[in-house]
Symmetry: C2
Subunit: 194 residues, 2 copies
DNA sequence: TGTACATCAGTGAACGCGCGTTCACTGATGTAC
DNA sequence: TGTACATCAGTGAACGCGCGTTCACTGATGTAC
């Protein structure tokens, strides 16, 4: 792990900016000039970092996948200290208002933020999306101490992402809470059956 | 119900085309010239039917909401004749490979097809989306003979749409089946607890 | 240590293209007498 | 029933604008001797 060059630092900053934009505004909303401007650069330099816009999208999704875990990890840690089981803690954190807010700001789970857009993107994005889902399912299985099988893990992924997405589309705050807590309750009761 | 004018017939055809495009390719992918061409017209005439592109998107989503039920209704009917309970039949049809295919062709449930895009669109779309979710939840409650409360109906909506979305993002056919059948199993067991 | 030159990272003007929108026009349908 | 005119539904050329991409250039950093 040698010191990163100036260019590598800039590259990371562009990625970080792009990862936020695609999660907050969607793939189509990302403009080359816009990303560069938000990263404090001018648009011309973009092609020294990426061959084209498509390549940035793929790298940005990968970056989002690798870093979005952090937001939730903090909340999980807090619960673990209180003796809550790891998987239950994760479910609780994923379905929290804090994660909902993070999503709106482009810092939440990319599967929830972009779930319905993956299938319309270039192959590279579809592959990254597939990988993100695998990683997500693997993490849930690991948190369950391997008591969860793959099919059930996929169910959990779909229920978690579906709930966050639906909650974001409800205007009434009471219904948002109802959707989140109802999902939390059902998933925990399934998970606690060991 | 008087005879529709020629213009009204054309208007419907544009809507039908647009409803398919937005569900198959997303809101951003809909181009005015493209819709008109697919509807057998030239782009110039568009503005005699809609004030602008945004207005078409809203009307098209409304149209999608009103008509997407048909695809599933057929499958539900078949099961009802075999004595399956209405809500169970609906869940089974919604999580079928047939519905997955319909989604890919722009004829499936708009909430599953566009779930992660609603929150980034104009207010009119957000309202239509909110309404589509309400209608969806109401339908599930009606099918359950009102044994389902609103919070649980919202959970079902999120789990159903989440599962279809996730299934569409999995490449491995075995995992697609695993995701769908695992969700089916869990939801039915929740629903059958009456 | 100082000078000359090469490389690096980023700038900003310019391009081509697609898309939403406008508008003058046309051919077909309907209405008045 | 036939003629004259108005309205309707759609056509296609043209516009302005934004966006992805290219490229000649610049100032800063590093290297050779």
């Amino acid at each position: 792990m040698t010191n990163p060059t100036k260019k590598e630092v800039t590259h990371q900053r562009i990625l970080e900016t792009a990862a936020r934009i695609i999660r907050r505004d969607g793939f189509d909303a990302l403009g080359v000039a816009d990303v560069m401007k938000q990263a404090g650069l001018t648009h011309g330099g973009f092609y020294a970092h990426f061959p084209n816009r498509d390549a940035l999208l793929v790298e940005a999704l990968d970056y989002a996948k690798r870093t979005s875990a952090n937001t939730i990890a903090v909340a999980v840690m807090q619960q673990l200290e209180q003796g809550v089981k790891p998987l239950a803690a994760y479910i609780d954190a994923y379905l929290s208002e804090a994660h909902l807010k993070a999503c709106a700001e482009g810092e939440g789970c990319p599967v929830a933020a972009l779930g319905s857009e993956f299938s319309r993107q270039q192959d590279g994005i579809k592959q990254e999306a597939g990988n993100a889902i695998q990683v997500f399912a693997d993490k849930l299985m690991a948190l369950s101490n391997q008591t969860l099988n793959r099919a059930d893990a996929l169910f959990l992924v779909s229920a978690l992402t579906g709930a966050v997405q639906l909650a974001r589309n409800l205007e009434d705050p009471q219904e948002v809470t109802a959707c989140l807590s109802s999902t939390k309750q059902h998933l925990l009761s399934i998970v606690n059956r060991d």
